[in-house]
């Protein structure tokens, strides 16, 4: 820079400060822009996805209309398609999976975050993270060769002889079906519930535990009545993440659900899920209507996820409004 020798005047100093200010403002703007673009792309992907599914399913939407959601026929030969059995199967298997995975995952997370010695906690968390990384086809194969025979010979007869009066435990045991698919899904989503819940529990401030203990609470009372409620929203979040995975799981479910588009109250009977039928039939689907109906199923799955997520947010809102108000920041 071409400046005079005696440059260090106060006014020069302010000029420097101003450049710094400007530079800082410039950097902030860049960062703002970059992150905005990242978020924008995410939104764009979602919008384009729905747009494409909407356009490509035009033929099926025009032909079946709202009846697509309530018809239980799926006949590629006659060109008659309805989504109801697939919606039912997707919801039932995901519900079974959550029923098993949430107590298991949250229970394990409480133990690891609050009660276990730190060394054991970190090594068990590592194992759980490993489980999350196993490809789903492996879970499917284990399901077919280990779980299915076990279900047919041991678990299903045992359920029938003890709880057989319930309609959900009736009918012949094939080993495959809603229940088996739900169990495989549960095994797959437990690591998600566990990992996220543990992090959230550990993020609850130490003061709160100490305050509870100081008021005379036992260790368990402080965990169950103070820490867990405080981490509630995060735990809900982990459950919804797991639910999203369960709704969209393809391979493992296909291998153990029985792939039969029927609606049955019994968890022992074979069923079908949206993701499974897409995986099974898309590659060999000839004919425009058939393809269009399969794509509309994809749209339905998107819609289902959307609605369930919306309900979940609503649930959080309601419980937070009347809850304790003690939340991790």
């Amino acid at each position: 820079m071409a400046t005079t020798p005696n440059a260090a005047t106060p006014s020069d100093f302010t000029a420097h400060a101003q450049t710094l200010q400007r530079r800082k403002a410039g950097a902030d703007e860049v960062a703002h822009l970059v992150t905005l673009i990242a978020a924008g792309i995410l939104l764009l992907i979602a919008v384009l996805l729905v747009y494409q599914l909407w356009i490509l399913s035009a033929e099926s939407r025009a032909k079946f209309g709202w009846k697509f959601f309530v018809t239980d026929t799926w006949d590629p030969v006659a060109g008659d398609f309805g989504a109801l059995p697939f919606i039912y199967g997707t919801l039932v298997t995901s519900a079974v999976a959550l029923f098993i995975a949430v107590p298991l995952g949250v229970g394990a997370a409480i133990f690891l975050a609050e009660l276990a010695p730190p060394k054991l906690s970190s090594s068990l968390t590592f194992v759980s993270d490993l489980l999350a990384a196993v490809p789903s086809v492996i879970y499917g194969l284990l399901g077919v060769f280990l779980l299915v025979p076990l279900m047919r010979k041991t678990i299903q007869p045992a359920l029938k002889s003890t709880l057989g009066f319930l309609p959900i435990f009736k009918g012949p045991s094939y080993g495959i079906g809603f229940l088996t698919a739900g169990i495989v899904l549960a095994i797959m989503i437990v690591p998600f519930v566990l990992s996220v819940s543990r992090e959230v529990l550990m993020a609850v401030p130490r003061d709160q535990r100490e305050a509870a203990l100081g008021l005379g609470a036992t260790k368990w009372e402080s965990t169950w009545k103070v820490v867990v409620p405080a981490a509630r929203i995060g735990i809900f979040g982990s459950v919804f993440l797991a639910l999203a995975r369960a709704l969209g799981e393809t391979m493992a479910v296909t291998m153990v659900i029985g792939n039969n588009p029927r609606i049955s109250a019994s968890l022992f009977s074979p069923g079908y899920s949206i993701a499974s039928v897409l995986a099974n039939e898309f590659s060999e689907a000839t004919g425009n209507l058939y393809l269009s109906a399969l794509i509309e199923l994809g749209l339905v799955l998107f819609l289902l996820t959307f609605v369930l997520n919306g309900l979940a947010r609503l649930l959080i809102l309601v419980t937070t409004a009347r809850g304790s108000g003690v939340l991790p920041s």
């Binding site: 490509l56 026929t73 047919r152 094939y174 080993g175 039969n260 039939e281 269009s292």
Partner: protein, 339 residues
């Protein structure tokens, strides 16, 4: 057509990628059926060894995808386990020719503890079982064809393919021919609305279910049954003989096809021959009748000729039934239609 745009983009990317790696060579892109993939990749590989400048890239994405990509012209030729129907042929801007390559067959495989030897199945029994009307193993429909076998009175558990497949096409094509009721209720296709049963994914999924479920019956691809040494039954053909599927009886079915139409779009299930296994089918290469690029055209024609002569020796080691001589002669003539 918008719905095939995704495939077009993918195909184009693929073509660009392959082109970039081997510029200056003759590159053919093909896509379609998964069932003949092992023999096709063998053929393309051996052919490449003797014709170093020719590279054929085959994507086994399924028959439906193969037909779609061909109609969208993102591949040079396609492959399918079922012939294209008239509607699909009408969509093609350039007429498409069918060339049978090898034969496939579907066999009934079952799990009946305590039963030794192969069971015999009549067409009526198979249709009845898959319609859910023959529900127990000691049903007269099965027992009458198996004198001396003590069949249990257990329930029959039907297993079928859940994924769309050429094997399902063969099986349901056969059932449609032998049973009017089947034709009305389910019909034929790569996926159908099954009246009863459990769905397993792929041959391996079906056979796993059969092996784990006593009293079950399902159909699997012959090659899969042979390679994995799975037991399967004999089926009564139209001459009244119970035939076990093997490479010879499947080829016999193709030879017995009464009249081979000029476009080779023919179903050979339930044929007339005395030694013919009744549940088998051709699988086809789908070739456009006109190529804009003369080098590509000549390469395709040369490959087809090679496939039907020298190429045939690679079929049986891979457990594919060879084309009968009559069909080869007719196909050699049909190659001239490619311009």
């Amino acid at each position: 057509m918008r719905r095939v745009k995704v495939f077009a983009v993918l195909g184009a990317l693929l073509a660009v990628a392959t082109f970039a790696t081997a510029a200056g060579q003759i590159l053919l892109n093909a896509a379609g059926a998964t069932f003949p993939y092992p023999i096709y990749s063998k053929w393309f590989d051996i052919y490449h060894q003797s014709h170093g400048n020719v590279q054929i890239n085959y994507q086994s994405i399924g028959s439906g995808g193969g037909i779609r990509q061909l109609l969208d012209k993102t591949v040079d030729f396609g492959a399918s386990d079922g012939p294209m129907n008239d509607d699909q042929l009408k969509q093609a801007s350039i007429p498409i020719l069918h060339f049978p390559t090898v034969l496939g067959a579907a066999v009934p495989s079952y799990n009946l503890p305590g039963i030794q030897g192969e069971l015999n199945f009549t067409p009526e029994a198979l249709a009845g079982i898959f319609l859910g009307k023959v529900a127990t193993w000691n049903d007269p429909a099965i027992a009458s064809a198996n004198p001396g076998v003590k069949l249990p009175k257990d329930d029959i558990v039907v297993v079928h393919r859940s994924d769309g497949s050429g094997t399902t096409y063969i099986w349901t094509d056969y059932l449609s021919k032998v049973s009017p009721e089947w034709e009305k209720k389910a019909g034929k296709g790569t996926s159908v609305n099954w009246p009863v049963g459990l769905g397993g994914k792929g041959n391996e999924g079906v056979s796993a279910l059969i092996q784990q479920t006593p009293g079950s019956i399902g159909y699997i691809e012959l090659i899969f049954a042979v390679q994995n040494k799975l037991p399967y039954g004999k089926v009564k053909n139209s001459s009244g003989a119970f035939i076990k599927a093997d490479l010879v009886s499947v080829s016999a079915a193709a030879a017995a096809a009464k009249s081979m139409p000029d476009d080779f779009r023919v179903s050979i299930t339930n044929p007339a021959g005395k030694d013919a296994y009744p549940i088998s089918s051709f699988t086809w290469l789908l070739i456009p009748s006109k190529f804009s690029d003369p080098t590509k055209r000549d390469t395709v024609k040369d490959f087809l000729k090679w496939m039907m002569t020298d190429g045939q020796q690679y079929c049986e080691p891979l457990a594919y039934a060879k084309l009968p001589k009559e069909v080869v002669v007719k196909e050699m003539k049909a190659i001239a239609q490619i311009q």
